[in-house]
Structures are given as C-alpha cells and as structure tokens.
Symmetry: none
Subunit: 248 residues, 2 copies
C-alpha cells in the first residue's frame, strides 16, 4: 500500500467522521500506530488536519464563522443541495454565491457535470478545482475573512459583465415584504449584482431563515424564481407561493 493511499484514506475518513483515531486507522490500514502517527504528522505539516491526542480532527483554516457554520444543519443543507442539483445541465454558466448551503451543493456535483461556475467564494472555488468538468471563475476583490468571499467594487465589476443562466444564492434572511436581506453592506451589494446578472434566481434557505430580516437589502422577493428549502410543505411557504415563487 502506497503512503499516498493511506493519506487519501485518512482524509476521506476525516471528512466523513469529523475525526480519526490512531487505533482505528492502524486497524483499517494494517500498519502500526507509529506509522499512523507519522502520517498524521505529515498531513498536519501540510495544513490538512490538526493533530490531537489520540488522533486528529479537521483543519479549520481559520477559527472564523464559515467553518463553524458548515456543520450546523448539515443534513438539512444536504437535502436542499440535492434538490438544487436537478436544475443543473451541461453547458450552463451559473453563478454560485458564497455560504454553507451553496457549499453543500457543489460538494454534490456529479463528476460528469460540465459547466462554468462563477463564484466569489474561496471554499467553493477550492472544492470545484478538484472537479474535472467544471471551469471555475473566481471574482476578484478584497477577501472578507469571516465568510471567505471576495467583495467590493472589483467583484461587482466582474459580475456586471456577466450573463448567467442561473444564480444559486445562499440567503441570510427572507421576508415576504422586506425581500432578501443580509447583514453586510458590501456583500448585499454583490448579491444584488448577481441577481441582475442571471436569468433565473434560485435561493437556498433553511427554513429558519424564512420570515427574518437584516439591515441591508439584496433584492425584492419577487425577483426570486425558486426557493429551495428543507420544509417546503410548511405553512411558511404559502405566502411565497402566492407571490408566484416556486417553493420546493
């Protein structure tokens, strides 16, 4: 067994279980615990995980919000992402906004998919770099460390020149009257341009986002084409449907 295969196995297991143990890995890989220890050491050296007593845990590239949020509502987000997949077809150009729901979506991309993705999100770009069929375009600009997206005038300028088939937007807050809103001015401005630059806007929102509002406006609620949520059958969805928005 090649050392790289062990690395691969360790990283896969880590992603699945959110932790790995020396004892387990030693068993799974049929090598001594010392070798496992040295493997983890090497992976930690390259910043791919964090060693802890007894094993290792995933590396949060930074202790900020994005990585904290990845795991909350993980199953809901996966369910939402799975529904979103059906909108994708080869040859499309799509905008994918930052956020944990949209990140869950690109993680589910089947390897056969062929499209161009424009995104301001660094985690999404990294994820898609490993995908053989997707061309990735990263919008430029200053990086917001908390959400790991680029923002600012440069981002807006790049998006303005674009015409995309679909925009998948990760929304912070949805409200029938206030519309789509967000907590940061710059990010809201960027999202607004995304809405202008795509033929069809699909919002990904866990149900706890619905009926809430934040200071900065992204767009009117009627500009949304579809809302994908985990609980489409709920009472909550009714007012959106009355406005002509598909809720699934």
């Amino acid at each position: 067994m090649l050392k790289e295969e062990r690395f691969d196995y360790i990283l896969k297991k880590l992603q699945a279980d959110h932790k790995v143990l020396h004892t387990e890995l030693s068993n799974d890989l049929q090598v001594s615990e010392d070798t496992v220890r040295r493997d983890l050491e090497a992976l930690a050296q390259n910043g791919l995980l964090i060693k802890v007593r007894g094993g290792a845990i995933p590396h949060s590239p930074n202790p900020f919000a994005f990585n904290e949020r990845i795991n909350i509502h993980e199953d809901d987000k996966k369910a939402i992402a799975a529904k979103a997949l059906s909108f994708l077809h080869n040859g499309q150009t799509i905008i994918i906004d930052g956020g944990t729901s949209t990140y869950a979506l690109v993680k589910l991309f089947p390897p056969s998919l062929q499209l161009t993705v424009v995104t301001p999100s660094i985690p999404i770009a990294m994820q898609l770099m490993e995908h053989p069929g997707v061309d990735v375009v990263l919008t430029g600009g200053r990086i917001f460390k908390s959400s790991q997206v680029t923002s600012g005038m440069d981002t807006i300028r790049m998006l303005e020149k674009l015409r995309a088939d679909i925009c998948f937007m990760g929304v912070c807050s949805l409200h029938t009257e206030v519309g789509v809103t967000g907590p940061h001015m710059e990010e809201a401005a960027v999202k607004n341009v995304m809405v202008q630059s795509a033929n069809r806007i699909i919002a990904l929102a866990t149900s706890d986002k619905m009926g809430t509002a934040e200071p900065y406006k992204v767009c009117d609620i009627t500009e949304l084409d579809t809302i994908i949520t985990d609980e489409a059958g709920l009472e909550l969805a009714v007012p959106y449907r009355q406005l002509g928005i598909k809720v699934i």
Copy 2:
C-alpha cells in the same frame, strides 16, 4: 516493446487503478524495475503523473495537487523565504505571485505584520486568511487548476489599476539574455503586468531555475531589482550582478 507502448500501458493502468507500482509494472511489461522507474520519471516530467515512493499516482483527483510540489526543495525554499522577509514593512502593499516559493514566504509571515497583499494564488490567499494583520485581495479570473492561480483578462485588469511597493515573483526560468520566462502564455502575461505595477521586483528562484528558459517571456532580466536564491555565492550569480541586479 516500444517505449511508447509502455507509456500507454502505464497511463491506462493508472487511470484504471488510480495508482501503479514499480513491481507490478515490471512484471506486466517484462522489463526491469529500473526501466519502469525511468518511464515514470519521463511521464512525471511531462506532468502526466506524480511519482511517489513505490510507484506513481494520478495528477488531478488526489488532494495533493498543490502539496505534491510543496515538499520538493523544501529547505531551499524556506531559506529563500526567510531572506525575503526582511523586505517587508508594515503599511506596504505588495503583490505576491503564485508558486511554492512564494507560498513558503507567506507561511513565514510573523503575526505582527500589517500589510495589504494582492495575489492571484488561492493557496496563498487561504494561508493569509488566517493572518490577523494582512488584508488580502484576490485577483479575479478563470482558475488554472494545475497551478491554482487565477488568470486571464480580469486578472490583468485588476493588476493594471494597482500600484504596489513590491512584487514578489516566483519564477520558472531565469536567463541573463532571454530574461524571465514561463511555460504558459496567460500566466506569463499576468506576471508581466505585475512587473509593470510594482515599484520593485523581487524574484524568488531556487538555483536550479537559473540559466534556463521557457517559451513565454515575462520581462527583461534588468527589470528585476533583486534575485533571492539559495546559493547566492555560486558562479551562477555573477552575470546577474554585472547587470546591476542584487543577488542574495
């Protein structure tokens, strides 16, 4: 059996199994392990696979696409990076090119450093996101999956509008007459704009890069202000010094 047939077989097997072993190939192809080793060496040279101890693995799908290169000449690169640190001062705006030498540099940034970094490199941006004092600006554009940098017109446009104090460039090839050159047209064009946009160009180059050339020109050798290398005392450095370039 023709060498090309062996190449063909190796690549096919690699695609099927996601790895190849010296021992297996030696058996399958009925040649010595040394010949297999040399074949893998040749294929690795052309970027068709990654040599590892015991055999080889494919290039893209494994998670070490960037890290696979980070370990070669690791100590040399660290030494180079350490020398480069002395050029940094709080308040500067600097451009940092992609590449493993420049990546080693940002890894050494002391936490007290306060500056703005503009870079097309995603690994560098990720690394610096953890840094409390550095503002990171990522240039936009299509992502080159092999080198994990953005490139193209958008990248160039963002750099053009910039005026930086220093540009740290990771060079592929340095030659006293041909100048700085690189293997890809687009990347060379981006590097060229970097050179135009910074007051001072500092090239990071392990000594094996010196005296070599590639198809696409980045800039004249005289546009460099300083070359940082691992073996500044060598004979190699003399002709550059005669051109007025500092070599350290």
